[in-house]
């Protein structure tokens, strides 16, 4: 198993020696004093954040021979070694997977996150450690550790369709992206091959095909659902989703030390098989193997340093999470991958005489056009029959009903589209006699089949939906608190109503009875798909980033996490962040070679 170069901030000498190992710049044994010398604090590139996009930035930069420092505000999490619950049986967890009343009381916000439980809570923050101000209700879900939320992500990897890049302007609800599907397609391929994505090639305009490993099978009811819906509507396709799981690893995955997904569906504990993609299992150890990587956990980034004379950013100011000591690191280029809202926070906090309102923020647009995915609506129904059919294993993937709304042209009273996740399962039986041996044995049998659906809807980027720095309140590191001011609008409500009606009808078309639909009214943010604030665009007057994810006004700073999103589309966004990151690093390396950066 490959192990990445790691260092702890509390052992500065190790950082030095590891950097020296990688670069052989300084063969002398380091001292405490040496820690702050230019040699250890200077790199070709600094990546802020080690999550799904930061890990990709690190891998691509290191592959190109660039000495790279990854700054992670949270603790170190080494692949396998730091997955304490990965191999526990359910009954070996103290409360069989449930959180204690005390822990829930202390963490009313983070405990709402999907997948949060006794077996995964250590990969989420604790509420009290990281306050922010909700001007409007917003559940900001965070995972501060090496690997970030790539440990706990949903793993869905659909490509954006060409329509999603252009729909906002075409249908009048936003601005065009400075790039289109064809610009990203080769980078999608690049990422898919490396991380391993399983799925079918379905030939759908709404969800383009990529480089796929074999998909997970439908179960018999999912097959039935897919056939019924397609037969009834003609143009509604329920297909295998595309997921970052190694259904059949290739050489490139074996080289990463990863193996076949074992269908445990315990992914969010961290996978000891490397069966799904995470920074920890894949990009970070890969980057470390080049000898070009230094990771510093426990490094809270305060701001990016701008040098007015040079007209560019020269480094990053870091606060030790524990000692609060401040260190500055320098590099030729900086990738900001701190997670969408933290990236906004860092840029807003990076003030200088040239940029009094935040780095690159000449227009006042930084922090604006924050958007998310709408996960409010869900439906389920029971379906008779198929009792003699079952499945084996725990499927870590779901089926996807590709978007069929406003595709290419507007055909509803709202704008934007929605992806629908769906799947079939067997319920627990409900025996009539509720006492005794026959009851217990009946409860242990598979019950009737059910089908669930839930939506992932596009939301409209709006200038009014924003984040900003609080004028007085600060966190324990003296960094201003983030204020969130994001809410739903009428378009969201219309989309929800449409989805609920369509889902009910589709479940009935499939032969379901007892169909139930619901709007959970969850706050924005709980989707964990927050995006925008530093959107890409062709015009520096209306956007923060150019077509290569560079700040228009400070070209050696790249933003390639969710903050860069011009619109939300309806696909799960992580793989787009990865593709944009790889594309941006390629551009950065070219520009550095040409001495343009």
């Amino acid at each position: 198993m490959i192990s990445p170069t790691r260092c702890s901030l509390t052992v500065p000498t190790r950082i030095f020696s590891l950097a020296a190992n990688g670069s052989s710049r300084d063969p002398n044994p380091p001292s405490e004093k040496a820690f702050v010398t230019a040699d250890v604090t200077s790199f070709d590139a600094i990546v802020i954040g080690s999550g799904i996009s930061g890990g990709w930035a690190a891998k691509e930069l290191c592959d190109k021979g660039l000495k790279t420092l990854v700054l992670e505000r949270g603790r170190d999490v080494a692949h396998i070694k730091d997955y304490p619950t990965a191999n526990l049986n359910p009954w070996e967890l103290p409360h069989r997977g449930a959180m204690s009343r005390q822990q829930l009381k202390e963490n009313p916000l983070i405990s709402k996150a999907a997948g949060y439980g006794e077996d995964t809570a250590h990969f989420f923050i604790k509420d009290q450690d990281h306050p922010y101000v909700q001007e409007k209700p917003f559940d900001w879900i965070r995972g501060y550790q090496v690997g970030g939320k790539s440990l706990t992500w949903g793993r869905a990897c659909q490509r954006w369709s060409k329509y999603e890049f252009t729909a906002p302007e075409r249908q009048g609800y936003g601005m065009n992206w400075p790039i289109g599907y064809d610009d990203v397609a080769p980078w999608y391929s690049h990422v898919e091959k490396f991380i391993g994505v399983c799925g079918n090639r379905d030939g759908l305009a709404a969800m383009p095909d990529g480089e796929y490993l074999p998909p997970f099978d439908f179960n018999c009811v999912e097959k039935h659902l897919s056939e019924k819906v397609r037969a009834h509507y003609g143009n509604r396709y329920i297909v295998q989703g595309r997921w970052a799981h190694l259904s059949q690893p290739k050489e490139i995955h074996l080289q990463q030390g990863r193996g076949t997904c074992q269908a445990r569906n315990l992914c969010m504990r961290g996978c000891p098989y490397g069966g799904y993609f995470s920074s920890n299992a894949s990009t970070l150890p890969w980057a470390a193997k080049t000898g070009n990587l230094t990771i510093r956990p426990d490094s809270v980034v305060h701001s990016i340093i701008y040098d007015e004379a040079k007209g560019k950013a020269t480094g990053v100011r870091v606060i030790d999470a524990h000692t609060h000591a401040v260190t500055e690191y320098h590099s030729r280029t900086i990738f900001v991958n701190a997670s969408a809202l933290n990236t906004n926070l860092i840029l807003l906090n990076s003030t200088s005489r040239r940029f009094p309102n935040g780095l690159g923020n000449d227009t006042g647009l930084l922090g604006r056009y924050v958007c998310h995915h709408n996960y409010r609506a869900a439906a389920n129904g029971k379906i008779a029959g198929f009792e003699d059919q079952y499945f084996y294993g725990r499927n870590p993937t779901e089926c996807i009903l590709a978007n069929f709304r406003n595709l290419g042209k507007q055909d509803t009273d709202f704008v934007g589209g929605y992806t629908t996740f769906t799947g079939a399962y067997r319920e627990r039986p409900e025996p009539a006699d509720r006492v005794g041996g026959a009851y217990k044995d009946a409860l242990a049998q598979p019950g009737p089949w059910g089908i669930y659906m839930y939506m992932q809807g596009e939301t409209i980027p709006k200038q009014t939906n924003h984040v900003r720095l609080h004028s007085t309140m600060k966190d324990q590191w003296g960094i201003p608190l983030l204020v969130t001011s994001v809410h739903y609008d009428d378009n969201d409500e219309k989309m929800i109503r449409d989805w609920l009606a369509e889902a009910k009808q589709m479940l009935e078309v499939a032969g379901c009875h007892a169909v139930e639909t619901r709007d959970n009214h969850q706050a924005p943010g709980l989707d964990i798909h927050e995006m925008g604030g530093a959107r890409m665009g062709s015009d520096p007057k209306t956007s923060m980033l150019n077509e290569w994810n560079q700040l228009h006004a400070c070209k050696n700073v790249f933003v390639t996490d969710g903050a860069c999103m011009t619109s939300t589309g309806n696909q799960s966004p992580s793989i787009l962040y990865m593709a944009l990151t790889a594309r941006a690093v390629n551009h950065a390396a070219d520009e550095m070679a040409k001495q343009n950066l």
Partner: protein, 182 residues
């Protein structure tokens, strides 16, 4: 049988013996001390385990709630994971249960023959279904099911749980009597 299961079975067996002798003692003096800082007293824990084991008894197919150590698990879950008002409803409910049992049968629940225990639970369950969520028995059932089906015995002997399935097969025939996946 692996080592852990062997140990657990022995413990469960010894536990059964102890509880029986304890049950005899209870006739003269109830043990109302709390089980190691838990919400339920030693007595209440044995009573709720008796109820759980009547709901979910050992059958030829699988060991029951008592063998699965449901009493201790219920006490732990109730103590750590449930709100004080729910805890109170369960504790008061068990007192009411004792009273009802004594009134109907003149003896303690544990000492009743199996059929009488089942009959009493069916009767109370009917009342609970009529009364809705406010009735304690729904909670007792929830705790029993939760503790049993999350236990090693419940997960592996009643249901089937495989930590590492190794593969996913979407559609396979279900053989008659095949348990559900845990």
């Amino acid at each position: 049988m692996n080592r852990r299961e062997a140990v657990k079975t022995t413990t469960a067996f010894l536990g059964g013996v102890l509880l029986t002798s304890n049950g005899l003692l209870v006739a003269c003096a109830r043990d109302t001390s709390n089980a190691s800082g838990k919400i339920l007293t030693v007595d209440d824990q044995s009573l709720i385990e008796e109820i759980a084991d009547t709901l979910l008894p050992t059958t030829p197919a699988s060991p029951g709630a008592k063998a699965a150590g449901a009493g201790a698990a219920i006490n732990l879950l109730l103590t750590d994971c449930y709100e004080p008002d729910v805890q109170e409803r369960v504790v008061n409910g068990l007192t009411e249960f004792r009273r009802t049992c004594d009134k109907r049968t003149g003896s303690s629940f544990a000492s009743l023959p199996k059929n009488d225990r089942e009959e009493l639970l069916r009767e109370i369950d009917l009342q609970a279904q009529k009364a809705g969520d406010a009735h304690y028995f729904g909670l007792v059932r929830e705790l029993a099911l939760r503790a049993y089906f999350s236990s090693e015995i419940g997960k592996t002997k009643a249901l089937r749980f495989v930590l590492v399935p190794g593969k996913w097969v979407g559609c396979v025939p279900l053989s008659p009597g095949q348990p559900a996946w845990g």
